[in-house]
Assembly symmetry: C2
Homo-oligomer: 283 residues x 2
């Protein structure tokens, strides 16, 4: 496994691989890797001849009040995990390599950047879109793999790729969960044992929503209120939002018709967690 810290070195490697007709997969991460990241990596290996993992804790996607400084980092462990997966390049640039002095260009996806997490995380999706556009131009992958836990991010990147004519296939990988249902996240490390237990209310409440739909309920208000009530049973949890929306546009819907997305953000103690589930009405 090659470790590259520089944009130019990374680009040249990719250029040479492309010239040799090799297909490149990119898995963008912020590090502190867990099993879900490794699932994306293994997916990448199936889809391409070469796998690049980027590890960059992107300051521009954290709002000023958020956990950029505290975000968990363990480069040694990440490197070891990726070596074990036999990836080809770990791209690990410093912040001033990605944002040198004078940097001032922003990419934004207007409508998809309005819903769900957006009002709660000012600047987040612009930061994501900008760094992803950069990574795409630096690594020049044929395929890039993102987790469906960050469903809004995934849809936004699909749109970005289509709108700016990047010639890249975007793959969404299903949410990877712990045995008890908690969606894997680097931020789970923040949770105390009590909070870890309390955090099960996210997947449990999504399960309740899915169950209601299977039994014939389609009304948005009825479903989201039940989900919210389920979360509020948990004293350590505080709902940020519970939304039922169109799974492509993320616009709110009044009823489940075709496929809908049930998405939520919950604070458990001081930790902000997100989760989601695709719902389909009875057929």
């Amino acid at each position: 496994m090659r470790i590259s810290e520089h944009v130019q070195e990374m680009s040249r490697w990719s250029e040479a691989q492309r010239r040799d007709g090799r297909r490149i997969a990119l898995v963008p991460t912020m590090g502190f890797l867990h099993e879900a990241h490794l699932c994306l990596v293994r997916d990448g290996k199936k889809r391409a001849d070469r796998v690049v993992v980027s590890l960059f804790v992107n300051p521009k996607q954290f709002a000023p009040s958020e956990d950029f400084a505290a975000y968990p980092r363990d480069f040694g462990r990440d490197r070891e995990l990726l070596e074990r997966e036999s990836i080809d390049v770990l791209f690990h640039p410093a912040s001033d390599e990605i944002y040198p002095a004078g940097f001032q260009t922003q990419v934004s996806v207007d409508k998809l950047g309005l819903f769900l997490c957006a009002p709660h995380r000012p600047g987040h999706f612009q930061g994501v879109a900008t760094v992803v556009a950069k990574l795409f131009n630096i690594v020049r992958p044929h395929v890039a793999i993102f987790g469906e836990k960050d469903y809004q991010q995934l849809q936004l990147i699909r749109r970005l790729v289509q709108d700016l004519n990047f010639d890249i296939e975007i793959v969404g990988h299903p949410i990877v969960r712990e045995a008890d249902g908690l969606a894997m996240s680097s931020r789970n490390i923040y949770l105390s044992p009590e909070e870890r237990q309390a955090a099960l209310c996210l997947s449990r409440s999504l399960g309740l929503g899915a169950c209601m739909v299977r039994r014939g309920e389609t009304r948005e208000r009825v479903i989201t209120e039940a989900v919210r009530a389920e979360i509020e049973k948990e004293p350590l949890a505080k709902v940020e939002y519970v939304t039922l929306c169109d799974s492509a546009t993320l616009e709110a819907v009044e009823a489940v018709q075709g496929t809908a997305l049930l998405a939520l953000a919950v604070r458990v103690g001081k930790t902000r967690l997100i989760d989601n589930r695709i719902l389909k009405p009875m057929e």
Copy 2:
């Protein structure tokens, strides 16, 4: 000369050229070509094995009050001129090929998009940055050539390329002028014979500014006021702005030190014209 109206066809052609190791130059235009465009094309031919000219009157770079509908178009003539230059591809997409339903991604260059023309043309530079990012991804040129008449656009595109890590060389081509000094522009067609004569005040006033600097004047206020007064001698002309600024950042300067840019926008009758000149103090 191949004419391509479709993004996918254009991309595939470029991809094949790149695979064969050919270097591609792109000259982006809005058509209604004149000698200055052809100079960019000839420059491109010297710098690459293949030349692509894009012809797209980009609705997103016109403010609602501007001349999008009236902008001069003559595809037959443009095609003929380009055939004579033996370019390889004329990329001529329809508007909904570039902006299909659901399009919502914007690229903006924050600081460079604040100065000079920006306050007078709301949304213009975001429209430029967005379409240029798209053209770069569709055509995938090694080099792209822009005229220095649109100096702010050129600097903004240099910044965009650097910030988003496009692997493209950006070339600025010196302003091409008519024999009497008027900078060539597709919009010159709007001018009546009297206005055409009045429009000489742009290059004349820039000449005055350059002359003042050669004679030792460096103060911004003194220079811009003299330039403005020179333009205001012309009854058909109305100054929009006269600015002396840093030639790289476009920030206003109080004095000419090293290289400075003297830039102006003037309405002659109903036609908005721009021009600029690099000034260097006596050495």
